[in-house]
Each structure stands twice: as structure tokens, then as C-alpha cells.
């Protein structure tokens, strides 16, 4: 083991860990007597600095790797693989974590301020490790790091019954899903006798691995990862977790952990789906999960009055859309999955953050009715929220439209030689389009309350902090920018995947 090399490879993570311990240390000693809000601001500032330094480390690594210098050629048997693509996504995770910290600092659930930010930072590190992991051991360990931090964060409001209940539900179901995942991984190892993705792919393509073992392993992996991305029928934890946990945490579960999980799905299943002899069985399974997610997610969202729960069901539906790109089982599919994961996360983070701001000022969970006439008092916030929701609904020219477009085109284009509409994935795309139309109903219902309703506004004029305002604005700009100019990111992903 080359320890100096390992030090440089994990430098961003080490900086963030150091920052976390500094924040914990200051919070336990020097800030002990201060009131929670001041402490929260100070700890958030420390966390922000740590994340920014970490991000600088990632950018430095990115520049080194794109320069073609051999600084990070050692991947430690696939445990930490630094390529332009993994580093870009790790950087994105760090940026999203920066947003989450800004949104979290105004409304810390209780007096455990530094623990709150510490767990957010630890889950960020887990997501970063998961993205760079191409080794089964590292994969499982980083998934557990993400999950454990998020369980803790969901149950953070220990004085609120529903938060604890959501945390326990998430914990129990997440534990079962981890067991499925580990079982699948152990079969994958048993079949291929390899731990690194590279070796596994080679063993599967060369036919050395027994096919039935690979199929069983993949089935268990679909179940285990299906829980993590909240795809139906493994979605039961999602509505409660999103509704009852602290709102920034819900935003983080819906954005950061989704990106990391989909990145893993592409890395793990991309090669298996392109080559394996059992491809058709596996694709049939994923299609089933995808259709169920789209139907259950969108139908479930129709009857929700709590906005957070509505967004939870919509996230289940979005997991279904993204799986369509995986079904395509080619490079276009992988590109579209990664692209959609990015833009979905940006939009959902923005939407949750807006709801979080409104919730904290309202002092309770916001129902759709509470938004009536918000535009009169808070025009800026309403317009930003409209951008996020319309992007989720997939309205052009926002990025959600192009994301869905790429997903559907990848699925249709994967079988160019089919003769009639009943073959291939035309029917799947048709279901997805139909369900997108259904989803418009509930998205527009929320927007109607925000923008059109003539009722007198229930919400007073909301003062948002500079950090929150800047975060929301930046997210909205990114959502619009990636809609107007999606080719830059798509071409980057395509070039780095190839």
C-alpha cells in the first residue's frame, strides 16, 4: 500500500473530517454557553469552510486527472477510483451539501447543533466514497455510511414522535435492504471470485462466471438498491421519511443519496446489462420496477395534501423514469440516467428547500392550501418554486424536459431494428408519457395555489437569509441553464464514460 498516494487520493475527505471534528470540538467547548441559533450559525460556517476546502481539493484532483498526469492512477484495487467523471460527481455532491448546510442552519431541530451538521458532512463523505468506489467492499461500506448518517438525521427531532417513527421505519427497512444488497454482493463475489468492478465485468463477459449465480445476485441487487432509490414496490419508507424528518434532511435524502445510488446502478449494472446472457430476464425485472414506480408514485401523489408527501411520491415516480434509461442498456442509457439524476436532484433540492423555508416560518407542515396567494407577498420565492416544480414536471425549456427526452430516446433507440410499436420499449415510453401527464395535474395544483389563487395570503411576507436566497437562486439558475444548454454536461458525461 502506497500511503502517501492514499493520502493525496482521500485529501478532500480528510479535510472535511478534520473540519467536522473542529466544529464538534468548538461546539462542545467554546460555543457551549451560546444560544442554539448563534451556535448553529457558527457551526454551519465551519462546516461550510470545511466543505469548500474539500471541494477545492476535489477540483485540484479533477485538474490533475484531466491533465493526464499519473498522480491518481493507483485506484487501490478499485476502492477509490478517480476519473474525471467520478470527480465531477463527487464535486457535485460537495456543492449540493454546501446548499443543504445553508438551508439547514436557520432551523436546527434541537440543541444538538454540531451533531446535526456532523452527520450531514459524514453522509456527504459516504456519497463521495460511493461514487468513487468500484470495489464491492468499499461499495457496501460507503452505502452503510450514507444510510447510517441519514437514519440518524431523519430521527433527529427526538422530541417529535413522527420524526422518530420515520427514523425507525427508515432504519428497519433500510437494514433489510442492506441485507438484500449484501446477499447479492456475496453471490456476485462467489460467482466471479473478484471484488473490483473491473474483474467482475471481465469474469461476466468472458463467461467464466456461472450465469445463474449472476442472475440471482442481480435480482438481490435490484431489490437492495431499489430500496435505496425508493423505487416501487420498495418505496414504503419514502413518504414518511420525507414528510416527518427535518426538511433539509429530506432534501438531502432525495438529492444527494439519489445521485450516488444512480451512479452506482450505472456503474454496477451498465456492464452486466450490456453483456450478460441473462440480460432479458434482468431487463424484464427492471421494467417491472420502473412501471410500478411510475404508476404508484404518480397515482399516490394525486391525493396528497401535504406538499412534502407529494414530493416524496413524485420522487418515487422519478425513480421509475430514471430506470427507463437503465433499461436501454447501452451507453446512451447510462448518459441519460446520470444526466437526469443530476437535474432531478437540483430541482428537488430547490423545491424541498423552499418548502423548508415556508415550514419553518409557518411553524408546522405546509399543506397545499397554505400556499394560496403566496405570490402577492413573496413573488421572488414563488417564481423560484415555480421553476423547480415545472422542471420536475418536465416542461420545456427547463432541464427536466431534456432529461426525460434523453431517457426516452435512449430507451427507444436501444432497439433500432424493431418493426412495430408493440415491440421494444415504445410501450414503456408511452406509459411514462401518460404518467408524466398525470403528474402535471398535481404539480399544477401546487402551482395554482402559489400563483393563481385569489385568496388572501395565509403566509406573511417571508424574510429569507442571504445564504438561503443565494442558494435557491443558484439552484434555479442551474436548472434553467441545463435546460437551455444541456449538451455541455451530456457531452462531458459521454466523453468520460467512453
Amino acid at each position: 500500500m502506497n500511503y502517501p498516494q492514499l493520502f493525496l487520493t482521500t485529501l478532500p475527505e480528510l479535510i472535511v473530517v478534520l473540519g467536522m471534528f473542529v466544529a464538534l470540538g468548538f461546539d462542545y467547548t467554546k460555543y457551549k454557553e451560546l444560544d442554539p441559533q448563534t451556535r448553529s450559525n457558527k457551526v454551519a460556517a465551519l462546516s461550510t469552510i470545511a466543505l469548500m476546502l474539500g471541494l477545492a481539493g476535489v477540483v485540484w484532483q479533477f485538474l490533475q486527472v484531466t491533465d493526464g498526469s499519473k498522480t491518481f492512477s493507483n485506484s487501490f484495487n478499485g476502492q477509490v477510483v478517480l476519473t474525471p467523471l467520478t470527480l465531477w460527481f463527487k464535486g457535485l455532491i460537495f456543492v449540493l451539501a454546501l446548499f443543504v448546510v445553508q438551508f439547514a442552519k436557520t432551523d436546527v431541530p434541537n440543541k444538538h447543533v454540531s451533531e446535526y451538521f456532523g452527520l450531514i458532512l459524514l453522509s456527504t463523505l459516504g456519497m463521495g466514497f460511493l461514487i468513487t468506489a468500484q470495489n464491492l467492499i468499499m461499495l457496501f461500506v460507503s452505502i452503510e455510511l450514507i444510510s447510517l448518517s441519514l437514519y440518524g438525521l431523519t430521527a433527529f427531532q427526538t422530541d417529535k414522535k413522527f420524526s422518530v417513527e420515520a427514523g425507525i421505519k427508515y432504519f428497519t427497512i433500510g437494514g433489510v435492504s442492506s441485507a438484500f444488497l449484501l446477499f447479492g454482493l456475496s453471490y456476485l463475489f462467489g460467482a466471479t471470485n473478484e471484488l473490483s468492478f473491473e474483474g467482475i465485468t471481465a469474469a461476466i463477459t468472458s463467461g467464466a462466471a456461472p450465469q445463474n449465480y449472476v442472475l440471482i445476485a442481480s435480482a438481490f441487487l435490484v431489490v437492495g438498491l431499489g430500496f435505496k432509490i425508493a423505487a416501487a414496490p420498495f418505496h414504503l419508507w419514502a413518504p414518511d421519511t420525507y414528510q416527518c424528518g427535518p426538511v433539509p434532511v429530506a432534501a438531502w435524502v432525495a438529492s444527494g443519496s439519489k445521485i450516488a445510488s444512480f451512479f452506482l446502478l450505472v456503474q454496477l449494472f451498465g456492464p452486466v446489462l450490456e453483456t450478460s446472457e441473462q440480460k432479458e430476464t434482468l431487463i424484464a425485472g427492471i421494467v417491472l420496477v420502473s412501471v410500478l414506480s411510475m404508476v404508484l408514485g404518480n397515482i399516490g401523489a394525486l391525493r396528497q395534501s401535504c406538499v412534502k408527501r407529494l414530493l416524496a411520491y413524485s420522487s418515487i415516480a422519478h425513480a421509475g423514469y430514471i430506470l427507463i434509461g437503465l433499461v436501454a442498456a447501452n451507453e446512451d442509457g447510462s448518459i441519460s440516467v446520470l444526466f437526469y439524476a443530476v437535474i432531478y436532484s437540483l430541482a428537488t433540492l430547490g423545491a424541498f428547500a423552499t418548502i423548508g423555508i415556508i415550514d419553518s416560518r409557518l411553524g408546522r407542515e405546509a399543506q397545499i392550501d397554505d400556499f394560496n396567494g403566496t405570490w402577492k407577498q413573496n413573488p421572488g420565492l414563488s417564481i423560484l418554486f415555480m421553476i423547480f416544480i415545472l422542471s420536475l414536471a418536465g416542461i420545456p425549456p427547463l432541464s427536466g424536459f431534456f432529461g426525460k427526452f434523453y431517457l426516452f430516446m435512449a430507451a427507444i433507440g436501444s432497439q433500432p431494428e424493431i418493426a412495430s410499436w408493440s415491440e421494444g420499449f415504445y410501450w414503456l415510453v408511452a406509459v411514462a408519457l401518460l404518467m408524466s401527464a398525470v403528474s402535471l395535474f398535481y404539480y399544477v395544483k401546487v402551482l395554482k395555489a402559489f400563483l393563481v389563487s385569489a385568496d388572501t395570503p395565509k403566509l406573511p411576507s417571508i424574510q429569507i437569509t442571504k445564504a438561503e436566497g443565494a442558494g435557491l437562486l443558484l439552484l434555479a439558475v442551474l436548472v434553467v441553464y441545463l435546460g437551455i444548454y444541456p449538451t455541455g454536461l451530456v457531452e462531458f458525461i459521454a466523453a468520460s464514460l467512453g
Binding site: 444538538h112 452527520l119 459524514l122 466514497f129 467492499i137 437514519y151 456461472p210 440471482i216
Partner: protein, 166 residues
């Protein structure tokens, strides 16, 4: 070997079922310990002596004793006899799991007998090798496990200190 495996597996399943089904918490803990010991036996059958020793030391030794201590400090040992232990729809759950087991695992087990196991030939389960493997090629993963334990610790601190009402 095979007979020993089935005996151990049967004891493990029995212990696990009893841990859920018994109403007296002390009895349940002892059933869990029975399950742990059977598991240690299974690890020995798999030639994983180190994991078997860890199983005995950590789970039977510390975790079991810890649970007994925790029970000692509580007043109520027997659960509410009026409440049903089985939830609604347990039969469906059992049916589905049984069907999955039959559909997935049984064909696999029957098919796998002929395949030679290449791993067993170069399998050298010494504690020294295990330590070297963990600390040398897999050092990065062990580092992430350290973070994982930190996260667990922080979450436990939050959960425990608020529950005490302080």
C-alpha cells in the same frame, strides 16, 4: 460435515424463531445467544475460525451480557399477553418468502453441486493474513468503517441524550 451443518442450521433457526416468539425477555435473550452460538459453529464449519471466535467473544460475550444487564435494569420482564405476537397477514408473508426460497435458492443449490470451488484450494484463513489484508490492500475501506462508527456514535449520542430529557 453436512450433518453437522444441518444440526447447526436447525439450532440457529430454532433460536431465531424462539427469540421472536417468546414473551419473557430473558428467555428471548437466551434464545438469541443460542442463535449466536449456532452461528459460531457454522463459521467453524466454513473454516473461518477467526470470525467464529469473534462471534463468541463479541456477540455471546459482550452483546449478550449487555442485553442481560439492560433487562436487569428494567422492571417489566414479560410482555403484554393480550397482544398478538403475529401481525396481520403473516401467512401471506410466509407464503411469499417460502415461494421465493423455493423458486430461487433450491434450483441454485441443486445446480451448484457439480461446480468445482476454486476458492477453497488457495484458501488460507489465518488471522495474520486477515489482518494484513485488512490493513494493507483494504486500508481505505477500513478508514471508511471508522467514519461509519463515528456516524453511529454521533447518532447514538443524539438519540440517547434527548431521551433522558436533559
Amino acid at each position: 460435515m453436512t450433518v453437522a451443518f444441518y444440526i447447526m442450521a436447525a439450532i440457529a433457526v430454532l433460536g431465531a424463531v424462539m427469540a421472536i416468539a417468546l414473551r419473557n425477555v430473558v428467555h428471548a435473550v437466551f434464545s438469541v445467544l443460542l442463535f449466536f452460538s449456532a452461528l459460531a459453529g457454522l463459521f467453524i464449519l466454513l473454516l473461518a475460525e477467526f470470525i467464529a471466535v469473534v462471534q463468541v467473544l463479541v456477540y455471546i460475550g459482550s452483546v449478550g451480557i449487555l442485553m442481560l444487564f439492560a433487562i436487569m435494569l428494567t422492571t417489566k420482564v414479560t410482555g403484554d399477553p393480550t397482544r398478538k405476537l403475529l401481525s396481520r397477514g403473516w401467512a401471506w408473508g410466509g407464503l411469499v418468502s417460502g415461494a421465493l426460497l423455493l423458486a430461487f435458492l433450491v434450483p441454485l443449490i441443486t445446480q451448484s453441486k457439480s461446480e468445482s470451488n476454486s476458492q477453497l484450494s488457495n484458501f488460507n484463513p489465518s488471522v495474520k493474513d486477515l489482518g494484513l489484508t485488512l490493513m494493507d490492500p483494504y486500508f481505505a475501506s477500513v478508514g471508511v468503517i471508522a467514519l461509519l462508527l463515528t456516524a453511529g456514535l454521533i447518532a447514538a449520542v443524539v438519540a440517547a441524550s434527548s431521551a433522558s430529557g436533559e
